[in-house]
């Protein structure tokens, strides 16, 4: 038998639900507030422009220039997207439009597994496979001597990590388009490829761009795998074979010593704040982009 009567249970359940909802709904706000308060010390003493565009990073003497990390993050992210986006788009079109259904049945668990593999395992695989591949084959091919730990290595590992994420969204989008639309185009005498190119892809375009946007945001915040192969050298990379450093890697690498140097913890929390803002911003933009351009 229950301890509480029916209406008391109703009340308990209601309160529980509303409190939970409040916790979740206010979470982004608290994340922002917590990180902002922690990085306030730094923001108070330095000009925001100097922090974001300063090139010198010497926490020991109070020099906090985040520019090399921001540039490193952007390099790695964009390069990963350039590799990943066309592969995902082509594969999504193939499995939804051309291939028989059994390939989709293989693809779904494959995507699940790729998405499930932890970030450190991707990093480990990068060290085992990608890094030697770059130092032994890809570097010499372009006439570069490199140890392999580089922007390119990070981008390659990252490009694979975001495949399940982007591909999943793209497949959903293409499957949501009614097949009758393709039939309408075919019935007018278009070839299958013309129909896909001019009708299906066009119909899916807002979704495709949004999928890439979400993928970009995800890649920007990825930490462990990138940290393990990017080289972690604070400098502005001149080529993709140079080592670099990213914002998430900066945070993860230095948590141990951050309390020993003044304002260092503030600086790392500021880096986290940048990541938070960029991620929220990107997701926000993409969300409204879908609503705005889903008009055809």
């Amino acid at each position: 038998m229950y301890i509480l009567n029916r209406w008391q249970r109703h009340w308990v359940n209601n309160t529980w639900m509303i409190i939970s909802l409040l916790v979740v709904a206010t979470l982004p706000f608290f994340l922002f507030l917590g990180l902002y308060l922690k990085s306030f010390l730094l923001l108070h003493d330095y000009h925001l422009g100097h922090l974001l565009f300063g090139k010198i990073w010497k926490p020991g003497i109070g020099q906090f220039g985040f520019f090399p990390f921001i540039v490193g993050s952007i390099w790695v992210t964009l390069l990963a997207m350039v590799i990943s986006a066309p592969i995902c788009l082509l594969a999504a079109i193939y499995v939804t439009q051309y291939s028989k259904t059994h390939l989709l049945r293989i693809m779904h668990p494959a995507i699940d597994i790729l998405a499930g593999i932890p970030s450190v395992v991707y990093g480990l695989w990068g060290i085992l496979v990608i890094v030697p591949f770059i130092s032994r084959y890809l570097g010499p091919l372009f006439g570069v001597t490199t140890v392999g730990y580089s922007i390119l290595a990070a981008a390659l590992v990252l490009s694979i990590m975001i495949v399940p994420f982007i591909l999943n969204i793209l497949i959903e989008i293409f499957r949501a388009i009614p097949v009758e639309l393709k039939e309408a185009s075919l019935a007018l005498g278009a070839t299958e490829w013309q129909s896909i190119k001019q009708v299906m892809v066009k119909k899916a375009l807002p979704g495709i761009i949004a999928a890439f946007g979400f993928g970009l945001a995800r890649a920007f915040g990825e930490t462990m795998a990138v940290l393990m192969v990017v080289g972690n050298v604070v400098e502005l990379p001149k080529s993709v074979f140079d080592p670099g450093y990213t914002l998430p890697a900066l945070i993860a690498n230095n948590y141990g010593e951050m309390l020993s140097i003044p304002k260092y913890d503030s600086a790392l929390m500021f880096a986290a704040l940048i990541l938070l803002v960029v991620s929220l911003f990107f997701n926000l933009i993409m969300h409204f982009f879908i609503i705005r351009y889903n008009r055809y």
């Binding site: 529980w16 917590g34 990180l35 051309y98 490829w193 930490t223 990541l275």
Partner: protein, 285 residues
């Protein structure tokens, strides 16, 4: 169809096939290299012992501390996220169903939270720890990971709860149930398989993430024995062992990676299997 169009279609079709099988091939290569390296290094000792003195210089011991630590952490976080997540998902789908705009806004908010990188949760968890005067501990790790997996948990439950037909809710009301009874007794039963899948999915994410526990859970060579003490985790043990210059220790990192990957593969297999089996009490419409 002109010749140019024919060639264009052919080229793209070949590219599409290459892209698709490239993805499958990469997956195969990843799994193969993890297994190939991991199986060689795996031993009974690694699975069942904690690190002994000089472990990180290649002496004896194992990663039992990290295996148990990761399991404790992931169980704790999944449980906590479930206790917060299920009510939210139910609230959206039973109580708020008429306020479409509010529901859309909450879903949007959840998607935003989902997009936040785990390192940000780690950093936030760390500031909270300092603020509350806690030190790195299992509890701090659990709380941080909970925040990280909450949106995943809620959104996947929400996706499945959305599919409950309106008629079932009306039927429940017409039998005299109130809203919370409808939510907790009818909706949960109808969607039990989906809820279990959501839990397992969240568990997989919780056990695999390193960035959020880096600051908060700490690391130790001992087995987890208290909520308030640091705890070792598998992702971090892989990371630390891999950065060692000693080959024998690196080998153990491969073994640890194999263990972690296996746990996650098993969990995801389970979620597929269970998803199929728990359809007994589900009513199909």
């Amino acid at each position: 169809m002109t010749l140019g169009q024919k060639i264009e279609e052919k080229i793209f079709k070949v590219l599409m096939i290459i892209a698709t099988y490239f993805i499958l091939a990469v997956l195969a290569v990843i799994i193969y290299s993890i297994f190939e390296k991991g199986v060689k290094a795996l031993s009974w000792e690694i699975l069942t012992q904690i690190p002994k003195g000089g472990y990180y210089y290649g002496k004896g011991g194992g990663i039992l501390n990290a295996i148990l630590g990761s399991l404790c952490l992931a169980f704790g976080a999944t449980l906590l996220a479930f206790l917060i997540g299920l009510p939210v998902a139910l609230y959206i789908n039973v109580f708020l169903i008429r306020w479409k705009k509010v529901v859309a806004f909450i879903r949007f908010l959840l998607d935003l939270i989902w997009g936040i990188p785990s390192i940000v949760y780690g950093a936030f968890g760390f500031t909270m720890m300092i603020y509350l005067g806690l030190q790195t501990s299992l509890l701090a790790g659990i709380i941080t990971v909970t925040l990280f997996i909450l949106p995943i948990m809620i959104r996947s439950m929400d996706e499945i709860l959305r599919t409950v037909p309106y008629g079932l809710m009306e039927a429940s009301y017409s039998l005299g149930s109130n809203k919370s009874e409808t939510a907790f007794k009818i909706f949960t039963r109808q969607t039990i398989s989906g809820i279990i899948t959501a839990i397992l999915l969240s568990f997989g994410r919780a056990i695999g993430d390193a960035a959020s526990v880096l600051f908060t859970a700490g690391y130790t060579d001992h087995l987890p024995n208290s909520l308030l003490e640091p705890v070792a985790t598998l992702p971090l043990s892989i990371f630390f062992q891999l950065s060692s210059p000693v080959p024998a220790v690196q080998d153990r990192a491969y073994a640890s990676a194999l263990v972690l990957t296996m746990i996650i593969l098993i969990v995801s297999l389970f979620s597929r299997g269970l998803g199929k089996r728990y359809h007994k009490t589900k009513i199909n419409f």
